[in-house]
Amino acid sequence: MSKSTTQARPLSPHLQIYRFTPTMAMSIAHRITGTALYFGILLFALWLLAAASSREQFDFVNGLFGSIIGRIVIFGYSWVLIHHMLGGIRHLIWDTIHGLEKETSRRLAIANLIGSILVTLIIWGGAWAIRGGL
């Protein structure tokens, strides 16, 4: 009787025991991107506030966004946003009980990542081509 309570009991398997798969990576990526977007939207609200306040404030905030770091943040934010949106569309497809098969869901996860990179590059490439610079 006492043996069963003192003996090291087997623990239920946790994350580290599973082989990491694309669907797992995109699952946690959906949460991480969602969290980044959650805080990042404040930057756009402040940008609008600066536009509503005065030219000086707008030029200051717009100057920050126009800097190299600012451009990297906006480019990154747009990628994260598109990744989360495509991931969300994947979830909406699953809600209709489609695309849940092992191979299909794996392909959807990979398509989510590749699609988000391609769409982001197309948008900023298009903006660059039309405006002749970012």
Binding site: F44, L48, F58, I74, M85, L92, R131, L134
Partner: protein, 127 residues
């Protein structure tokens, strides 16, 4: 003592999580409304990146832009509040911390929304 309530009675209305399926449904509802609004938002930001003060104010003062931008903020803020609530419930187990973060999770989107809508109205009405 045996629970005399039927399974149907337990899930009717609020259910065991005191929230029913309303949270799930609103997450999906705002996910769908976010899609066209985010496409507009990304297009707007990409099109007007690097524009001058006058150009951006004129663009935001257009009725369609002002309305779509306002709707985008409302839809996205509601959606992100629902999503963050799930993350808090999944990872924060201390009751005090959980309640504090759930409170902040309402205050933050409301503050961001107030800033955005106030700014949009001020630009649209030429303040």
């Amino acid at each position: 003592m045996a629970d005399m309530r039927t399974p149907l009675n337990k899930v009717r209305g609020l259910g065991s999580a005191r929230g029913g399926t309303e949270h799930f449904w609103r997450q999906r509802l705002t996910a769908v409304s976010n899609i066209p609004l985010i496409i507009f938002f990304i297009g707007f930001v990409a099109a007007y990146s690097g524009s001058s003060y006058e150009e951006i104010r004129a663009a935001l003062a257009q009725p369609v832009s002002a309305l779509l931008m306002g709707l985008a903020f409302v839809s996205v803020l509601y959606h992100m509040r629902l999503g963050m609530q799930v993350i808090i419930e999944d990872y924060v187990h201390g009751e005090g911390w959980k309640i504090a973060l759930i409170l902040l999770n309402t205050f933050f989107p409301v503050i961001v929304g107030a800033i955005a809508l106030y700014s949009l109205l001020r630009i649209a009405f030429g303040g």
